[in-house]
Amino acid sequence: MNCRRIRRSIPLLAGNDLPERKARRLRVHLERCEMCRKDFRRYSAALRKVKELADRETTSEWTATEWRALMARTTSARTEKRPFVSSVFGPRPMTALARGLAGAVPAVVIGLVLWNTVLKPKSSPVVPAPAYVRKPEPAPPILPPALQNKNDEKEPAVRSEEKSITVAQAQEHERPATRPKEPAAAQKEASQDVVSVTLVSQDSGLKVVWFLNRNFEWKGEGK
């Protein structure tokens, strides 16, 4: 510490108003520095003088009559009726309100975080499909196995292997199914090995088709 910084703290040191640790550091400096020590002595002596003056110059007192009259006048006045808000929330309703808010806000935040992470049912975000991606075909209705077999017989060999999908469907494809699969549906899904993604340039009209396997590995492209 240099003398300039020390001298800023000397007025407080003279009145013992510094924390013990800082005061000790300052005293160590004062032992070494003559100028700061002199400054400290001046402050201490000035403070002593002020206290002496204050004790010597004690102002006049209340006379007994004055004091009695004052007490009579004071106690004859009515005390303030406690307002309803104060009676419920204590002497400082605004402080009580601030404390209440300070407690409520973190509780609401924690509640929201818990709701989003643990309690809320998971749903994949729906990404809007670009204009050039073909509209998905309506999903076939889930039927009991018996009826589904009939449908399978009517429809030839589970549509085509090559099928265009939307981005949303692709994500659906990646995620494991939540409900147990019907054997026929599982068989149908197994047959959909190749998917295609068609990209069309809006400027030039150029069209590129990418073929991907079920793991979304690139298999080739066509035009």
Binding site: R8, S9, P11, L12, A14, G15, D17, R41, R42, Y43, A45, A46, L47, K49, V50, K51, L53, A54, E57, T58, T59, S60, E61, W62, E66, W67, L70, M71, R73, T74, T75, A77, R78, T79, E80, R82, S86, P91, R92
Partner: protein
């Protein structure tokens, strides 16, 4: 007890502070009449609003807080009040028929007291803090509580006040401070 309706219990409650109240008020306002008025108003307000006093806080600090506000208000009123016409024009006022009130003469003498002279070097805030900490011996935390401010603000103002007081004593009353030099 006072809150329970025993109004006579108020006097023992404020009795220990009656001299301090008067002293602080006198040193803030600068004259005894205003000091008594401020102290009276303080006691009346303390009685009226006793229910608002937080029991967790010290009653003395609460009382001193009211007093400082009252004294400050009174001093501001006196400062803003227009001067009497003759005084403003610089002419000597004719003495009243029955002479100056003895209280006024006494106050005028006291205003010239040494401590009061030194205190004029301080700003209003510094004076309040200096009086509470160094004359009434409140701790920094208690002074901050009474004035409704932070401890840091009290430290800063107290440091400035002590510096100014030291300089005032050294310049105005060098004979008082022979051991200071």
């Amino acid at each position: 007890m006072v809150l329970a309706g025993k109004t006579e219990a108020f006097e023992p409650l404020v009795m220990p502070y009656r001299t301090s109240l008067l002293n602080i008020a006198y040193r803030i306002t600068g004259n005894m009449e205003d000091a008594k008025e401020a102290a009276q108003e303080t006691l009346m307000r303390a009685f009226k609003y006793l229910k608002r006093c937080d029991r967790k806080r010290s009653f003395r600090n609460w009382l001193f807080g009211i007093l400082v506000n009252e004294a400050r208000k009174l001093r501001a009123e006196r400062t803003n009040a227009p001067l009497p016409l003759e005084t403003a024009a610089g002419t000597k006022r004719a003495p009243a028929a029955n002479g100056p009130a003895p209280g006024n003469a006494h106050a005028a003498r006291e205003t010239r007291s040494r401590l009061m002279e030194c205190l004029t070097a301080l700003t209003a805030r510094e004076k309040e803090i200096f009086l509470l900490r160094d004359i009434e011996q409140l701790s920094i935390t208690e002074a901050a509580e009474a004035l409704g401010t932070s401890s840091i603000s009290v430290r800063v103002n107290l440091s400035r006040a002590r510096k100014k007081m030291k300089e005032a004593i050294l310049t105005k009353y060098p004979h008082l401070a022979e051991d200071v030099r």
